[in-house]
Structures are given as C-alpha cells and as structure tokens.
Symmetry: C2
C-alpha cells in the first residue's frame, strides 16, 4: 500500500470517516414503473459478479502496524449493492435527508470499502443512486469518472456494465480535480509538504504577496471554519445552464465567474441571516488542474497533478454587478499570476494552500494558522450529450465530498445536458439551516438577472 | 465515567462497534393510515424536547486519554429521531434487511450515542421502530425496559412520554439479564476477572466438573465460534405461545425447555445443511439472574448482579422427544448445582463462563481457550397485557444484541401478549444464509408437535 493510501486508512476515526460519494438520479426507461425500476437496477447490478481489483481491495492491518492491501476473492454484492427507499412524501428534501444520514456513516473496514445504494420512492419517479468510496480507493472526481464510464450515449443499449466490471474499472485511475487527488496521485507526501514552507520563502513567496495574489492567510474567520464532526447535511438543486449562459453573455464575464458570483451572493445572504458575515470578503479555494492551458488528457504514466487557487468572493459588496466585477477581477488576477508561475512554484503555492486540508490526518500540526480559505467551491463542466444506463437516462449528478477538519462547508457544481447541478455539503452542527443556502443561490441568481437587465436595457 | 463504561468507549473500533438495539412493531391506531402514522410518530417524538441526563451523555476524550462524560445541553432531535422507509414490496424480509444494515453502522461518538428510527412502508401496515443504544449508556435488557416504560396499558391514552423524557429515564438503571449487564453493573472489573481463575480452582471448581455441570471447555468448535466483523444479518419471526404451552403441558417439560429444544432442533438442522454439525452436542449460554429464587426487584444501591449458566443442546440427537428430555435433564442438573452453589461460587463460575465475552475489549488475552459456549440464547418473558403508545398497539419486540468477537450467533426470545418473538442475529460472513434458521425453528416446532402427539395419543 502506498503511503498516500495508507494515510486515509490509518487516520480514519469513528468521528472522521474518510469517504466521498456521488448522488446520481436516473429517469426510468419508458414503460418501466419507478418502483420496479429500482428493484430491476439492483438485480442487474448484482448480476455483475466479475469485480475489478480496485473494488476487491481490502486494507489489512496488523495491530498498530502499517496497513497493506489484500484482495478479496469473492465479493458479496448483496452487501455492497443495497436497495433503499425514501420515506414520507418522497420529496427531494426527504431524499437529501436520507443521503445526509448515509454520508455520515463510516464504511466497514472489513469489506472492500465501497457501497452503492439504489433508492426508490421519489414522487417525481426518478431512481436515485448513492455511491460511496473510501478515499484510500479513489478520490471524488476519479470515482465520478469511474461511474460515468459505465454509462453509454445510446438510449437503447442494454447490457451496460457495472462500474466495478473489469472492463470499466481500469487498474490505474488518473489523478483528478479533487484536492485530495493531490495526495492520492502521489504528487506530494507529508515530508514534501512540511519541506514546502522554507522552499516557498526561497521561491519569492513574499514577492507574490505584494502582487495582490489572494493568499491563504488573508481569509477572515467564519462559522464555516469551525471544528467538524461526522454528521452531515446535504442540500442540492439544479438550474438551467442557459440562464447562466445568458448572464455571462450579457455581462461579458466567463461562465465560471457567473457561477462563483451566484455562490458568493448566496453565502453573503446566508451569513447575514445568521448574523455572521465578516467585514472582510470571504475566500474560496478552487481546485484547478496544475498544467493550465495544457491538454486535459494525458497518457498513462503522465503526472498531470492538481493545484489550488484562492479567489476573493467579494461578500462585503452588496451590489451584485459590482460583486461580479470584483470576483472576475480576482479570478483574472490570480489566474494571471498562476500562469506566470513556474510549474514548481504553482505546486508549492497549491501545497501551502491545501496543506491544512491534506495534513488533516496529521492533526494539530498547523492548528494555529488562520483558515487557509473559507469554503471550497469546485466546478467541473461535464459532457453535453445525455448518458444512459440500460435505457435509464442519467438526469443529475451531485458529487458529495468529504469535509476536512475545520472546513465545514463545501459547494460542488457540475454541469451536463444543459443543467447546472449544485450540491452543498456541510457539517450538521457547524452550519445550521444549511438547506437555506439553496434558496439563497436561487435568489442570488435572480438578483444578478435583475441587475444585469437594469444595467443593459 | 466509570471504568465499566469507559471500556465500551475506549475499545470501540470501526470494525467492532459496541451497541445494542431493539426492533419494535406497532399497529397504527384505528383510523390512522400507516404512512401517516410513521410521520405522526416522528413529529410526536421530536416534540419531546426535554431530555433526561442519560440521553444527553457524551463521551469526551482527550487525545489518547481517559474518557469522561459531558452533558449536551441542546439535543438535536432531528438528528436522533429519524424517518426511514422499507424499500421494495414492504415485506418483513425487506425490513429485516434494512435493520441488518442499520445494526452494522457504528453510532457517532460526537453526539449522545443513541438513535431512534421510525420505519414506514411495511405492507402489513405496521410501523417499525429501531432503537439503538451504545453499551456505555445501557445494556440491551435495561434499554428495552426503558422503552417499555414510555408505554401504557391504556389504548386511549394520548400524551405518552418519549423514552428520553426525564419522567421515564430515571437516573439509575437496574442491572439486567444481558451478560454485558454484569460489566455495566460494576459487579466485576477486569482485575477481578483475571483474578477469578485461581480463586475458582481453590473454590473446588474441579469438584464441580465431576458432578457433570456443563462447563465452558466442553463446547465443540463450530462455525458460530468464528472471528466476527461489523456487518450483521438479522432474522426474526413470532409464534403463538399457546402452541408451546400445549407442548409443555403434553411433555411435562417447563416452557423454557420447550423453547430451548425448538432452538436446538433449528441449529441442528441448519448445521446439517451446512455440513458443519459437530459430533459433540452444542452448548448454549443462558444469562440468568444471580440471586436465583430471590425477589427480582431490589432497591437502589442493591447489587443484584447477573450470572450465566451453560446447558447442553443435545444437537447430536435426532429424535425430538429424546432431545427435549436430554435438554430438560441438562437444565435441571445445571440449575440444581447452581442452586447449591454459594452466591460467590456462582459468580465465579459465571465470570469464567462469560470472561471471553466480557474481556473481548481486552483482546487477545484468552485467545487460546476453546469456545466457552457455542451460542447465546436469552429468553425473557414479558408482560401479558398489551401495551400502547399514543393509541398505537405494541405488536412485537425483538431485541438485537451486540455480537462479541468470536461469538457469531445469538438468539433472543421474548414473550408478550400470547406471542413468542424470536430474533436471530449473526455475523454476515461467518453465518451464511442466516434467515434459514427461522424456517428451521418452525420445522423444529412442528417436529416436536408431531412427536409429542404420536407419543401421547
């Protein structure tokens, strides 16, 4: 077992499980009743008894010793693939409450650490699938790519594979946009991390500060930077991408800046409501590919790597258009500096930004440092063409990340087939009334709309 | 925190959570739709916001230090009381599969360690309630008594309290029939346990062996004495007590011997099917009150204590009536010896019997000792009169125990209102096809019936 995998095994505790998940929603194929579809999906998934190595890995750990991988021969799909139902009226709110509970539960280290829950009972007729992976197996974005590889663009195709089929789960997974991917990809080890600070100073880190790069230590303390536990709340909703595209065209800002401004508006409204808005603007950490501008695909053996950049969310600004302009400015400025940095320099800046997150297993090392950023906002554009699994149309995908100690809120956005899917994940105790952020996201979008229309009649 | 409580906190691991649970089934009050009843029950339970100390206790643990209790002021009932649904066709098998999953999940140490899940969706219209307690709070039987105290004999009474209401959850709970109750009650500490063996030898333990007392070291190795993990399977069913009472009258055996013979027949058939029946008869550990013949109620401060006796299940015997006679003989013989023992001697015999279970947190101490017994069978007669909660009739109660390391099967029986309720709990991997034991219990009862009728026309 690689040290980067072992860290996630060794430092997991009942209070801080280390897993990521994806919530997907499927429309049943035409002519299939919703309840029957869930049962059929479970039966079809369980029929895929040939299981790739990745899904048969089991951490084996001598008493207090270093863990190693063993490979389970027989996989009990009755255990790994589960059939569940939404209670009550079958609303999305009830589904998300169930998913929040599921996401708070640690995986069983005595089975290969993944689970797939097929959930029926949504009144809108869709079938939900909640899939959970341990971080020692894969990070969030790689896990999501894996799930996607089992899908097809052909609505009529049957015999789609399960994500654990050997044809789908290739032995090596690419490192991904998830910040934990940095660790998993082996880019940095703890030793490299702790060595990073003096190197950074030599590399002219102070010079960078003077160029107004938004840097970790400039983030104000917020309720989002509180001690975290294991209980989660998850909220999610989707918006039509064309509303955001129209706003981007109308304001001249890139689509991702519009998305960030929508998030910033929602966080500002939420914190105001909680009497907890700091005077200084909040910062967001955006995971970005390290090789900016390079081809995003790279052959096996290549080391693409991941980095992070921190931008200002201008939450001290009330006017939506001014906020948009300031965020666009911060993103452009930071991207400009990042582009000017050598690959090594950017790696080092990223490492310093992410270190409190990545070092979270090696607790208490950096406890006295102010929050490196306030929230993580990750935006991944997905494929435009629809995807299917045995005739069922994939309607929505919500990635649900792990929260690190001291980072109590995370917003993950994906886009696909003309929709923007947003999942907000928070610590149950640290972030009260989390679902209100979804309402504020909608209001923030409307406010931007109104302001843009007023400005350009 | 007492050392007996701390043990359950300190030695819990993600692979071996330490909780017990009770599954109860309620008939909705006349005129209430099943789905509406579950939602109403959740709302009514969550309205009981005044919470007794026992349900506000939270283990607080400095890094690697000795844990202590702190008391949560505000209890988040939205977290502790959950609303869930049975998937698929809403059969008992599907409910039990859901309960098996729930019972495999460790409690979150960052909240007071109890949960109550109200489960709707059974096609028979009943509402299920799965309640989970950490062993540091209470043992299984005391927890069950606590749930019962919230009930009433009046079918029309409304405003029934929640089990966590201060009027219900008295600050001190009596020690109970659960073998873990011995530990919890403070009767024995680890030091006393390890000191027990030499004391026993001095107390004439070898003399007892010669009197044919069924003793721990006489149990054959079976598949039920295998390493255990965290994943569980739970099976349950109820039978009319009058069938068993008729058999008791017809054969002249006490009711609990008839119950034991039914279990023995089922285990024999199950092991035969698995090609795993040992030549030597299986043994069962029965938890029994230490003060045999004394009043079961004792004032606060009294030390009633619990013991264990091991009896033979005569599983090497094919004929049901001969098996019944041999079990009756083993129970009478063991009870006779137990009655003749001094209280201290019985305590010591019990301690030796239970030590591998109770010492399971202090692992690897007694690993080389053969299984002290093969299965635990616990039979608790319950109240004869029906009980209600806000008009809903309590139809069935199934206690779901923890399995100790190396004890992969447990059968728990309770009787109430003319029904015998049986729950079989097993390790998911060690005990394959666990649900078949339920079928075998039914066949064993029928076989006994037939044999008794043939014998006494």
């Amino acid at each position: 077992m690689r040290p980067t995998e072992a860290m996630f095994v060794l430092f997991e505790s009942p209070s801080h499980p280390m897993h990521v998940a994806t919530l997907t929603l499927f429309d049943p194929p035409p002519g299939t009743a919703p309840g029957a579809h869930a049962a059929e999906m479970v039966a079809r998934l369980r029929a895929h008894t040939e299981v790739a190595e990745l899904f048969r890995k089991l951490p084996s750990r001598p008493l207090h010793g270093y863990p190693w991988w063993r490979f389970e021969k027989h996989i009990d799909l009755g255990y790994h693939v589960r059939h569940t139902a939404v209670p009550g009226d079958g609303t999305m709110a009830e589904l998300l409450s169930l998913v929040s509970q599921m996401h708070s539960m640690p995986l069983d280290p005595q089975h290969p650490m993944w689970e797939m829950h097929v959930i029926e009972g949504l009144t809108d007729g869709r079938t939900a699938v909640y899939t959970k992976f341990h971080l020692s197996l894969t990070d969030g974005a790689s896990g999501m790519r894996l799930l996607h590889r089992a899908l097809t663009v052909d609505p009529d195709l049957q015999d789609c594979p399960a994500p654990w089929s050997p044809s789908v789960a290739a032995p090596t997974l690419q490192p991904s946009l998830d910040p934990r991917g940095v660790l998993r990809s082996g880019l940095v080890t703890t030793r490299e991390l702790t060595a990073a600070v003096p190197t950074l100073i030599r590399a002219g880190y102070h010079g960078l500060t003077e160029e107004h790069l938004t840097l970790p230590l400039q983030s104000p303390p917020t309720i989002f930077n509180a001690p975290t536990g294991r209980a989660r709340k998850v909220a999610a909703r989707s918006w039509h991408l064309k509303r955001l595209r129209r706003l981007a065209a109308c304001t001249g800002a890139p689509l991702d800046v519009v998305v960030l401004t929508m998030c910033a508006g929602a966080l500002r409204a939420y914190l105001l409501e909680q009497y907890a808005l700091p005077d200084a603007p909040l910062t967001a950490m955006l995971p970005v590919p390290l090789d900016l501008g390079e081809s995003p695909t790279i052959g096996p053996g290549g080391n693409r790597g991941i980095g992070a950049m921190v931008v200002s969310l201008a939450t001290d600004e009330n006017d939506p258009l001014t906020r948009l302009a300031r965020i666009a400015d911060s993103v452009a400025h930071t991207s400009g500096i990042v582009a000017a940095l050598s690959r090594t320099q950017f790696q080092l800046v990223s490492v310093l930004t992410l270190s409190p997150i990545m070092l979270d297993p090696v607790r208490r090392v950096l406890d006295d440092i102010p929050p490196p950023f306030n929230v993580m906002i990750s935006y991944t554009p997905g494929p435009a063409r629809p995807r299917y699994w045995n005739g069922a149309h994939l309607d929505a995908v919500y990635p649900i990340p792990t929260l690190a100690r001291g980072q109590a809120l995370s917003i993950t956005l994906t886009s696909r087939s003309g929709q923007l899917h947003v999942a907000v994940v928070g610590d149950r105790t640290a972030v009260p009334h989390l679902h209100r952020i979804i309402g504020h996201l909608d209001s923030a979008l409307t406010d931007l709309d109104t302001a843009a229309r007023t400005a350009s009649p």
